[in-house]
Subunit: 499 residues, 2 copies
């Protein structure tokens, strides 16, 4: 069996290498590639994607996994090898159910869909995107139908991003969360608004960049195994665990984009850099799920980066870099970066309103997939729900239903992971504080070793060995639960807005 495990590791290393090759091509595409390179890059990515897919669904891999099943059952179920067999089998069994024709159709539809979406958004004209979204929804329905064992068609989609998570679970979590968040926002809206005008003024871009670098270096980002570049839509990508790169954007007259964006991406990257070396090139080096990944980015962005202790340490330094903040006291700065204001745009939303943007999208996705809402009615329904949840109505579709790229790329089933990530971040945080009560004091001193060490040990090193619910349960003692997040929000905003 050792020979077979070796063969499995070799097969997985090749698939992983193809996947990281594709990631390098994608990184370059979004950072440095000249416009002329687009068509060629499409060909390269399609080829690498096909080669990876062929290997991920090969009968030889299936045979190997079958042969290894009894052996894996004899091992400690939490051992690397048992998990390797389990996770690979899971992915293999999903992948082989999808005919190549569907893979090709989906790739074509989403390529065209993204092009149409760019045009539709720029013209704020949903009709341009509508036939493409109809096609994509139909293909997602077709995809779900390849997996009749799932209780709900949306389960099949969600499962690709959150292994073994059920739509019913997510709904239940969000049902527990929604009224509390709506109530909180209502309470805040009755209070005097905080001032954040000082964040909207010119800030030298190079100095912003350097400040971001200073912060994430203190967080523990390993520059020997990563780098930072600019990208229009920031992202983090790992080419294996020893080359995990972040990207960021710098707005010349708004400080938040760079500061919180950089910390967010660094959170993802710390996860990627912290996976156990023995999981590299196995397919388990990518993390447990999107929600668990997002828990890491949101923890460093929000629980660390938007906290008072963090700025007690870093604000004097920020004022040194930007003397124009000299007249803004810490308390005012802290309130400003935590201003709550319902808005149309998800990516600009504050912590108190963010999850409501997600819930709206999840409901619309499920309704489209169930066929209960026709694509043509989606813009109107969007605006109705925005009014209901956030009390605002987008002035046009560009700032409404067309704002996000996800659906055009076929990523239906993805959005909820953002909100789940927020919840998990606080669950983990509560446990981490319980284990290390002095972490907040350390943050006040600009020290992050204890926090990072705890995350490394409890979350990062496991990579993709555990399903998200399993991992959260293992670390915190309970499954994903909205209560800690509600507690956190309520406490934080009660202080800021004197509720």
């Amino acid at each position: 069996m050792e020979e077979k495990i070796k063969q499995l590791r070799e097969a997985l290393a090749e698939i992983s290498d193809l996947s990281t090759v594709g990631a390098v091509l994608g990184w370059d595409q979004q950072t440095y590639m000249p416009p002329g390179g687009a068509e060629g890059r499409g060909n390269q990515l399609a080829l690498i994607g096909r080669l990876a897919h062929e290997r991920s669904t090969s009968p030889e891999l299936g045979k190997l996994l079958d042969d290894l099943k009894p052996y894996a059952a004899s091992l400690d179920p939490d051992s690397d090898e048992a998990r390797l067999v389990k996770v690979t089998t899971r992915n293999y069994e999903k992948a082989v159910r999808v005919p190549t024709k569907h893979v090709v159709d989906f790739a074509q539809a989403t390529t065209l869909g993204q092009q149409a979406w760019v045009e539709a958004r720029s013209k704020s004209d949903f009709s341009i995107f509508r036939p493409h979204l109809e096609k994509i929804v139909a293909l997602r329905q077709e995809y779900a139908a390849f997996f009749p064992n799932f209780e709900h068609p949306y389960d099949a989609l969600l499962d690709d991003f959150e292994p073994n998570m059920k739509t019913a679970d997510v709904k239940a979590i969000f049902d527990g969360l929604r009224p509390k968040q709506v109530e909180l926002i209502k309470a805040i809206s009755g209070k005097p608004q905080v001032d954040d005008s000082f964040l909207h003024q010119p800030f030298d871009e190079k100095k912003q960049w350097d400040f971001g670098v200073e912060v994430i270096t203190k967080f523990g980002y390993d520059w020997n195994c990563g780098r930072e570049d600019k990208a229009a839509h920031p992202f983090t990508v790992g080419f294996g665990i020893k080359d995990v790169r972040i990207t960021t954007r710098v707005a010349p007259d708004f400080l938040n984009s760079m500061i919180f964006g950089t910390m967010h991406e660094c959170g993802h990257a710390l996860y990627g850099q912290g996976v156990a070396p023995e999981l590299d090139r196995t397919g388990l080096e990518g993390g447990a799920s999107l929600a668990v990944h997002e828990s890491q980015s949101r923890m460093w962005e929000n629980l660390v980066g938007r906290s008072l202790p963090f700025w007690q340490h870093f604000y004097p330094r920020l004022q040194e870099v930007f003397p124009q903040l000299g007249g803004v006291p810490l308390d005012k700065f802290y309130k400003g970066i935590n201003k709550v204001q319902p808005s149309y745009i998800r990516v600009e939303a504050d912590e108190a309103t963010y999850n409501l943007h997600i819930m709206l999208r999840l409901e619309m996705e499920i309704a489209m997939l169930e066929g209960k809402v026709a694509v043509k009615d989606v813009p109107e329904l969007w605006n109705v729900k925005m009014k209901e949840y956030l009390g605002v109505t987008p002035p046009n579709d560009a700032k409404g239903v067309l704002q996000d790229i996800h659906w055009s790329g076929g990523s239906i089933g993805y959005f909820s992971t953002y909100a789940l990530g927020n919840l998990v971040s606080v669950q983990l945080w509560e446990k981490m504080i319980q284990d290390n009560p002095d972490v907040v004091e350390q943050i006040r001193q600009g020290k992050f070793e204890t926090l990072l060490g705890w995350l490394r040990k409890n979350v990062h090193r496991h990579g993709g060995k555990f399903e998200p619910q399993e991992l959260v349960q293992k670390v915190t003692g309970s499954k994903i639960d909205p209560a800690p997040y509600v507690r956190y929000l309520t406490k934080k905003y009660s202080e800021i807005y004197k509720l």
Copy 2:
């Protein structure tokens, strides 16, 4: 047969895509990759290389080429399709003669060889590199033995870089060149030396970079299909014809590195961007040979960039950018950038001495390959020949036999292409001037459209359709010939040094 041609194009597109994927990985490795990424990158490159090799030597490809042979014979022999079959057959027949074991051995030996060379050079200790060079020479001998049809073992190596070029031809060309160049250098050494001290002073790096960009933009470099980045060892690389990137380096206190290096790489890139679109993704998009490629880089670097008319246009602008050159008249500047001084280092050599560095290397390579010189005796022989050809003796092996990376990477057979490129550049130039007598006047006005248009039409668009000798013959009416180069050097330096 149309179906078979289509199949051939599809097979070649896949091989070409794998090759450009490898090129992206290599570009990133040399520009942006953090140190931690090295091991993973090695795995990725090895995989992509293996996949490309498998496809380039597959029996299916061989069958397709066999089937197409009679059809290709019925076509215009200069048509794209006839050439596609011819060149692919040629490459295929070479590739299948090399056993996979040799490919693997060679990859291992050169990986270790390069590591050892870096250490050997930094310590100036040939003994560290010696066993590796012995292994590499043995492997190159083994490689040559796979091709018993060649007259001389060195032919098999040279042929990989210069299709169908024979060692005897290169020797004959160099034999015609050597005495003339030695004589010229001797004459120059009897004259008062020109002053180039003004080139060695601090020059703001950003301003240098911007000046280089300004120049190559005027040359006609298409930024929509390319970009420029920094690299320790500048190179040009194309990922297909619509993404051809250059790299350069900027020395803070010496102007030549950036200026002439940037023009040199731009010359390569103009070639890459100028290949006919219908040759993209066929394996013919890469140019005729290394020598023809080098003729393009050297033409823009030397025949344009080190000419008086060029600086009659650009020198006022350079003085504007660098006021410290305000007191240096144009004539003095022109002489300074063309200073002849025999030196130890090939890459720093001027036009008059450069080819002698190459001849020395060619002779040593042939002698090693023939077994007439043992590797252990190479450093001493190197120094003897340096004294003989250039009148200088390197102070140590780091500045002598260990200065170039090529042998450590297995590139024995490569060096002569540099000198051949110099010769071809002037042959093409003479013909171009004959066709367009006003090009020099245009350059004096900072205009390069006619020159670039001529190169596009006569050289670039053909890509790799023709063998180098064929192409030179087709364009100039004669094969590669040292006479034009000797004429050019003699005229240029007679004026500068008043010979």
